[in-house]
Amino acid sequence: MKYLKVSNWGYSAQRIFIICAFSIIPLALLFTFAYLPVINMFKYSFTDWNGYSKRFDYVGFENYTRIFSDPEYFKVFIVSLYYFVATFLQMGLALYFATILSFKVRGKNFFKGILFFPYLLNGVAIGFIFLFFFKPDGTLDMLMHAVGLGQYTQLWLGNPNIINVSLAGASVWRYMGFNFIIFLGAISSIPKDVYEASDIDGANRWQQFRHIILPSITRILQLNLILAISGAISAFDIPYIMTDGSNGSMTFVIQTVHLAFKYGKLGLASAMAVVLLMIVILVTLVQRVTMKGEE
């Protein structure tokens, strides 16, 4: 970098140079891939554009009224509820395992590794793994036969009443480790002598959890809750790879992707994305405000 010879300049000139040179690329990328799409998305959502024709017409709020009046578009929210409920199970499990693995346990690192590992796996691989798991005479059916529950086997991915439970289950399997590792980190930052003091006072494990651990990780719990909500609404990989939204497993994002890239209804897809974005922002704001109230 000697040819720049910036070192010969005065520090004030250098300052301006370095501020500009170092921020121009990140800012350009930020604008092009974070803000410009949002602006364009709002614009497209008021049009009937198909994504490739030269011209498009403004149609006002037509796309929006369609989303909220046509049950076909609206029912994707009901699918989100399955994922939303599942995230509570996921966080409960994560919290339970993070708590017991913060204390003395045999094989601690082994269990830590195994519980976290699924989160690191390739999304497509997980989709296939669970196709195999749920398919007729697949892993789950055979396991149920082995323990004598054979008569309860189902078409796990063929029955519209069960499919979303199956898919949400796969999602819990995939993401539990993420919550777990975050909780583990938060719990391990609690000073050890707090536990020692409570041990002397005769507190049991539950009381320690209730009065020491839980209050110290409230913030991180709230953060995970918000990630859970936006995660539930934006569920995509697993249902797309496993079922492509068939049998009543259509999620918001699959719907949007289909509309935009399969059926060329880019205006409508953009309106759906705007609604999705609004929900996520609203939830985030509500959470920020309630969190501020507690501090």
Binding site: S7, I19, F111, N122, G123, G138, T256, S270
Partner: protein, 277 residues
Amino acid sequence: MTQLKYTLASVVKYASLILAAFIALLPIVVILFASLKTNAEYASSSPLAPPANWLNFANYVKAFVDGNMLVGFKNTIIILVISIIGATLTGSMIAYVLDRFKFKGKKIMVAAFLLATLIPSVTTQVATFQIINALDLFNTRWAAIVMYLGTDIIAVYIFLQFLGSISSALDESAMLDGASYFTIYWKIILPLLKPAIVTVIIVKGVNIYNDFYTPFLYMPKDSLQVISTALFKFKGPFGSQWEVISAGIMIAIIPTMIIFLLLQKYIYNGFAQGSVK
């Protein structure tokens, strides 16, 4: 009595851990079993049954060759290396400017980066697609690279956090020796950011390796497929040949497994830091 209660609690604790480990491992282990079975053996045996021959790698060869996974690995590595180097440089540069200098518009810049985290990238995919198209990047590796560089702001946060803990007295003493701001960044800040860089490499590396929809939407061309999209294609030609699909799955997750075993400690730290935004 208390002794009994203590034992019972401990039984529950270990039973739940073993059950959880079983549930976490079983879906993967059956895939490993299936991947080592011959076609006839797969058809006649239960998924829970181990393979007759643990060294039957025929399916792996078939998956790797017919599934074109070498192309997938090549593209994944190219994209991974360029994106990570780029993200480390741009992320640390902007963090250096934001942490070390006071200037007009700095607050707006920080706010702009913060606000962007509120936008889930899946929601803006449709509009992003048009931009990639307009930039003539569709069906090139650069489509994925610029998006991995641009949309992820976590790196900036991690660097900012670390920079806050590096004393600016170091910068000042370097300035007394006549070092330029660039030299300070390159020779002092960057080397001290090493733990943060490792964190960024891990968090971003995992995301990029496992990402499916970016390459799927933006680089559909066969010669540009990455591991995720190469594996996704198994759905067609291998349809019900689960022993071959299973081998493909194992090929895709074995690198993750090796890296996890080698870097466990760093990965835990990386995620703990990467998540607290």
